[in-house]
């Protein structure tokens, strides 16, 4: 009763809410540097899915090195992990550290719930630039990149050989390549989602490859109305118009099956597909496919994602939390982590390890990561990207033309704003 009364009263106060006060949204300050003494106390960390399940194994090594520390790992399901973090922030019930999807950093950093990365904790030059940038909001870094993910081109080597084409490096070659695979009996020379959920991840790199971007260099203005985006949309849509790609969205499970059966000649995906294809295609399929860097224009930029680690501002054991984060981003730890989780290292030095350098598939991912980019860390990105998905679908279905579609994206993106 009392609590309910309090809420009602709070609601009444809300009606006379004092307002936000413009600008000067001074987020939390870093609470100083982290020393090199062993970590002590208990550290609670949330990690999603597979990472949450196997992190305990790695944490045990940290506990060996720091006998007075206890790492308390809670595995959180990916679905709704976003809601869980949001409600935890609202209720003041946060852990010390949480893993975050790279695209969430902007949104949650805006709440002021994270402590900025202390000076001298890590050297930002050690990380892939694209990944480091996912931690940066308004020139302040929150946490560090933990593992990375990027997309490369998976293609059927036997079909390519039969058609006399090689892995493409330019847009033109890419078009020829996909058409050639189609001539070898594939229904889709390259499988692309015809718009809809997360299809922006396929079209944004095309704009990046020509030097275009989502936000202007000032980080405030959207530039979907640029010629680069126009090019990107047109090029993407041309695959459907010319019948090189079937306008069908393949869900997980369908795509590898159609790739193995030869209905799909090539597609873009992350590292996990290597083992999936080996598993499902059997031994005889293993040498029928290869991966290559994505084809490009001025650059061969691909999309990057992954997971970051952030420390909450009201952590009761921040020193130990940051020490654990620092330890997780050391090259040797990252190589061990790959062994446990198959997550790719976010630290470039880890890629010199023979595990990656000598593997024909993994080395391609390493190369690709040096030229990969993430969307801007703004709180509203999820919302803006949904508009891109929507308008791209209208274009591929022939309901609107590229110019109108991008004008609509630009107009709606501006009305949503960057949320900063």
């Amino acid at each position: 009763m009392v609590a309910a009364g309090a809420i009602v009263a709070a609601g009444a106060i809300m009606l006379t809410a004092c307002g936000r006060g413009d600008g000067a949204a001074g987020g939390p300050e870093s609470k100083g540097e982290i020393d090199d003494k062993p970590a002590t106390g208990t550290v609670e960390i949330w990690a999603m899915g597979n990472e949450g399940e196997v992190l305990g194994e790695l944490a045990a090594k940290f506990e060996e090195e720091n006998p007075d520390v206890t790492i308390d790992v809670t595995a959180v399901p990916w679905e709704s992990a976003h809601d869980r973090i949001a409600t935890a922030i609202a209720g003041g019930e946060t852990p010390d550290i949480s893993m975050l999807g790279t695209t969430w950093v902007g949104e949650f950093a805006a709440t002021g719930a994270f402590e900025p990365t202390p000076d001298g904790l890590v050297d930002e030059g050690d990380f892939f630039e694209g990944s480091w940038n996912t931690t940066v909001v308004d020139d302040v870094a929150y946490g560090v990149p933990w593992y990375v993910d990027t997309r490369v081109l998976y293609y059927r080597t036997d079909l390519a050989e039969a058609a006399g084409v090689e892995a493409p490096t330019t847009w033109e070659e890419y078009k020829t390549f996909a058409a050639a695979l189609k001539s070898q009996g594939a229904t889709s020379g390259v499988s692309l989602p015809p718009g809809g959920f997360d299809s922006w991840q396929y079209v944004a790199p095309l704009a990046w490859q020509q030097g275009g971007d989502i936000l202007d260099s000032d980080g405030e203005t959207f530039e979907f109305d640029s010629p680069e985006w126009q090019e990107a949309f047109e090029f993407y849509a041309s695959f459907f118009e010319e019948g090189i790609s079937e306008p069908v969205r393949l869900e997980g499970g369908e795509i590898e099956q159609k790739f193995i059966s030869g209905e799909v000649g090539s597609f873009f995906s992350g590292p996990y597909h290597v083992s999936l294809l080996r598993e499902q295609g059997g031994a005889e399929f293993a040498d029928k496919f290869a991966v290559a860097m994505v084809p490009g224009a001025d650059t061969r930029t691909s999309f990057t994602g992954g997971g970051n680690l952030a420390v909450f501002d009201d952590s009761e054991n921040r020193d130990a939390a940051w020490k654990f984060v620092r330890w997780l981003s050391q090259p040797e730890t990252q190589v061990q982590w790959y062994d446990i989780s198959t997550d790719l290292p976010s630290v470039e030095a880890a890629w010199d390890d023979p595990v990656f350098a000598d593997d024909p598939y993994l080395s391609v991912f390493g190369e690709q990561l040096a030229d990969s980019k993430a969307p801007p860390a703004i709180p509203t990105w999820a919302q803006v990207s949904a508009i891109v998905d929507q308008e791209l679908e209208k274009v591929t279905r022939g309901e609107t033309n590229v110019e109108d579609a991008l004008a609509a994206v630009q107009q709606q993106a501006e009305s949503i704003g960057t949320g900063q």
Binding site: P77, W78, A90
Partner: protein
């Protein structure tokens, strides 16, 4: 207000039943003339049945397939190499006993609370005259109509302020009552004739005794329905336990199983199917146990 047509035969029977306080559960009279079985009805119902249980059967069979086999397209109906790997993995990787116990604790308390409280309010709303009755009913209906997700964040903040995060009370209390349960009990009790209550009053029974020994015994089918609905709801509830249970020792089954849906692409379907089967079994058992209440001719007619 009572939706039952007043009929002397019924009321007499009811009065007899009430004054006898007959709570015995004899088997329903089997001497009623059954219509001759219509074969076409069986055919139609069987076709429907096939359509209804297909995904369920598929889920069951899928739990005995390897993930690779499930993800094959087009997939086979029968497992080619049946395996119990999914189950051994599931029980091996998950601290199954804990999650199962948590689910049971939460679901049992939620279901019991709903039965007790909903029956009480439902009775007041259906059979008692009092001031504020309309307001109460409108409130119940009103809350039933507010989309659940909207109160999610305020509810969590409240739970956090009450210090109930990561505790059983935090997982149970917000669901101990559901407007749906109240509404269900009220509607069912509306169709009970008023005469039985009158008869009980004439016999000098107080409100509480009337409620406990006359009304509740007649509510078997409604309580069975409510039990199934609330148990199922609580058992499958995902989002609330996920945010309230902040450590794994408080996770319920659906939350723990969701750990395996690793993104959209790398889902281990075989494991998920096995997990889904495990989640479904208790609910189906409860259904099978309680469904006999749907055929028991209840004491309304006095033929018990």
């Amino acid at each position: 207000m009572s939706a039952t047509t007043k009929d002397t035969a019924v009321s007499d029977a009811a009065r007899d039943a009430a004054s006898a306080r007959s709570t015995s559960t004899g088997s329903p009279s089997r001497r009623r003339r059954r219509p001759r079985p219509r074969w076409w009805l069986y055919v139609v119902l069987t076709l429907g049945l096939v359509a209804m249980v297909m995904p369920f059967v598929w889920m069951l069979l899928g739990s005995f397939k390897t993930t690779a086999e499930i993800r094959q397209y087009p997939t086979n109906f029968w497992p080619i190499e049946p395996t119990i790997d999914n189950y051994t993995q599931l029980f091996g990787r998950l601290d199954f006993a804990t999650f199962f116990t948590n689910s049971i604790i939460v679901a049992v308390f939620v279901t019991l609370g709903n039965i007790v409280f909903s029956s009480m309010v439902g009775y007041a709303l259906a059979k008692l005259e009092f001031r504020g009755k309309k307001v109460l009913f409108v409130l119940v209906l009103g809350t039933l109509m507010v989309p659940g997700v909207v109160t999610f964040v305020p509810l969590f903040v409240l739970t956090a302020n009450l210090g109930l995060v990561n505790s059983y009370p935090g997982m149970i209390l917000p669901f101990l009552i559901t407007p749906l349960g109240v509404f269900l009990m009220r509607q069912f009790m509306l169709s009970l004739p008023d005469d039985i209550i009158e008869a009980a009053r004439i016999d000098g029974a107080g409100e509480w005794r009337t409620f406990l020994s006359v009304i509740m015994p007649l509510c078997g089918p409604a309580v069975a329905t409510l039990t199934i609905l609330t148990f199922l709801g609580s058992w499958n509830n995902f989002l609330w336990p996920l945010v309230v249970a902040t450590s794994e020792d408080k996770y319920t089954l659906p939350v723990a199983l969701a750990l395996y849906s690793v993104g959209q692409n790398a889902a281990q379907y075989g494991l998920m199917m096995a997990g889904a089967v495990v989640v479904v079994v208790p609910v189906l058992l409860i259904f099978v146990v309680l469904q006999r209440y749907f055929v028991q001719g209840i004491a309304l007619t006095g033929i018990k």
